[in-house]
Each structure stands twice: as structure tokens, then as C-alpha cells.
Amino acid sequence: MSTVVSIISNKYLVLAIRLVLGGVFIYAAIHKIIYPADFAQDIYNYRMLPPSFINFMALALPWLEVICGVLIIAGIFTRGSALLIGFMLLVFIIAISAALLRGLDISCGCFSSGVENTGHGIAVDLLIRDILMFAGSLIVLFYAGSAFSLARRAD
């Protein structure tokens, strides 16, 4: 057990996970910030939220992604960013799972939206990807230190 802990708490591994999570979330947010209406349509297609909440989510979620992405890369408010990224991934996992179980043939809305989507429909591989990233966010949450961080001290 201590071997596992020493591996996953390795500062280089934690840094790599921070860079990957941050990069993915920043990249995912850009198109959604530019085209919020299309992203709102993607959220609606999951049929999980009341329509009156959808636009607020479409406006807030991409900025949450980009700001958490920047913070986790910079090592500022690292644990908070990791917690929020983990929460978002959990929501995505639940949403994709529900959509798969219901047999919805919809766009993921992960990296693009509306008519710009690259045909990336929901599928099991997306689920696996998000689960792996969720695991990574937990590692950063519990083992983020002061190494490679712009924060003056560890969170």
C-alpha cells in the first residue's frame, strides 16, 4: 500500500496530471465560450436539467473549466481546482452514462458544440476517458504539494 501511495504521490506524476487536466479543460472550454448557444443546445440534448437552468450552465461551465485549468497548471488554489475539476468530471460521467443507458444519439459537447461538433458522439470510450481523468483529479486533490507551484506555499 505504501508503495502505491509513494507512486501516486510522486511530485512528477502529480505535475504531469496537473498539466494534462489543465490542458484538456482549457482546450475544451474555448469553443464553448465562443459559442454558448450551441453549448446550451448540447446540454439540453442530455435532457437532464430544467431548461431554465441551461443557459446559466452554458455560461458558467466553460469559464469554470478554463479558470480551473489555468489554476491547476499554475499550482494556485490547486486543491480547489482539482475538487471542481473532479466534480465536473463526475457530472460528465453521470450524464454520459445516463445518455448511454437511454440510448440517446447526441453530441458529447465536450470539445465543440452545435454545428461545429466534430461528430464526437457519446460512447463508452468517452466514459473511460472521464473516469481516468477523475482518478487523476483525486490524486491532485490529495497529493498536491508546493512543488512546481506558483503559490508561495502548499495548499
Binding site: 448557444a37 431548461p51 446559466f56 455560461l59 469559464w63 488554489f77 486543491r79 480547489g80 475538487l83
Partner: protein
């Protein structure tokens, strides 16, 4: 240790969330093509490039005589009841193919269908936009909203 980590993480998450909401809403307010904060199901069900117009604004244009109302329903239903003065242009058929006269007229065009089939209005609106029409709208709530407001309709 877990409790300390979680307390720190939650505090930071709250601060981040407040900043995110402020930035997100502020950016949307400042941009030219911002979206409304609250929308309803119809704006997601009916996917169209056209904007939605509420009944009160449509009525104002009706009174001024400055809009053409386009009924996107089946012509048989159109003959039973329609907005007064509306023209029938369903999404499939020669009327839409030959609607260049309308697209190039410079008129404000308001498309509508029945509430549950507003998607047809969206299709007609998009086609008119492709044909070059400048101001095209979809009537929010369709014919039912117009009738609920007590506004004039006609029959054959």
C-alpha cells in the same frame, strides 16, 4: 489529514466559483451575441438561426402592417385557421422553393406553426435566411400563443 485537505479544497472552490460566475455572466453581458440568462424549452426544441419574437412585439408589427406572417403548417390546417393575413409556406413544397419574392422583399418575416410543431417554422425561417431574407423571426409559442392573447385569426 483528509478533513484538512477537504476544508482547504472547499474554501478554494467557493472562491473560484464566485469568480467564475462573475466572469461568465459579465463576459456574456458585454458581448454582442450574448445569450439570455434564462431560456425555456422551446428555444432548444426549435433549432433555428432566426431569433424568437414574442407575441406582443409581433402584434405591434401586425398593427403597423410592417411584417409578413408565414404559416409553416400543412396547407390543410392553414385553411382551417391562421393568423389574419398570413401566407402559407410549409417546409416542403413549391411555395418554399419559390419564396424568393418574399426573401427579397425587405419585409420583416415572422414564421410560426402550431406550438408542438414549431420546428417547421424554424426550417422555413432558416431557408428564407439562406435565400437572403434580412429580418426573419420565429413567433414564440406559435399560433396558440397568438390565439391565447386574443389576437385576430381568419378561416377560409
Amino acid at each position: 489529514m483528509i478533513k484538512r485537505v477537504m476544508v482547504t479544497a472547499v474554501k478554494q472552490a467557493v472562491i473560484i466559483s464566485i469568480v467564475v460566475v462573475a466572469v461568465g455572466l459579465g463576459f456574456n453581458a458585454l458581448r454582442e451575441n450574448g445569450i439570455p440568462l434564462i431560456a425555456d424549452a422551446e428555444t432548444f426544441r426549435v433549432q433555428t438561426e432566426a431569433e424568437f419574437m414574442k407575441v406582443d412585439n409581433a402584434w405591434r408589427l401586425f398593427e403597423q402592417g410592417s411584417a409578413v406572417f408565414v404559416d409553416a403548417r400543412d396547407p390543410r390546417v392553414f385553411s382551417v385557421e391562421r393568423i389574419e393575413g398570413a401566407v402559407s409556406i410549409p417546409p416542403v413544397g413549391p411555395e418554399l422553393e419559390n419564396a424568393g419574392w418574399l426573401a427579397g422583399s425587405g419585409s420583416i418575416i415572422i414564421c410560426y406553426a402550431s406550438e408542438e410543431s414549431q420546428g417547421q417554422a424554424g426550417i422555413v425561417a432558416d431557408k428564407l435566411i439562406d435565400m437572403g431574407a434580412g429580418e426573419v423571426f420565429v413567433l414564440y409559442g406559435g399560433l396558440e400563443a397568438w390565439k391565447t392573447a386574443g389576437l385576430p385569426t381568419e378561416r377560409d
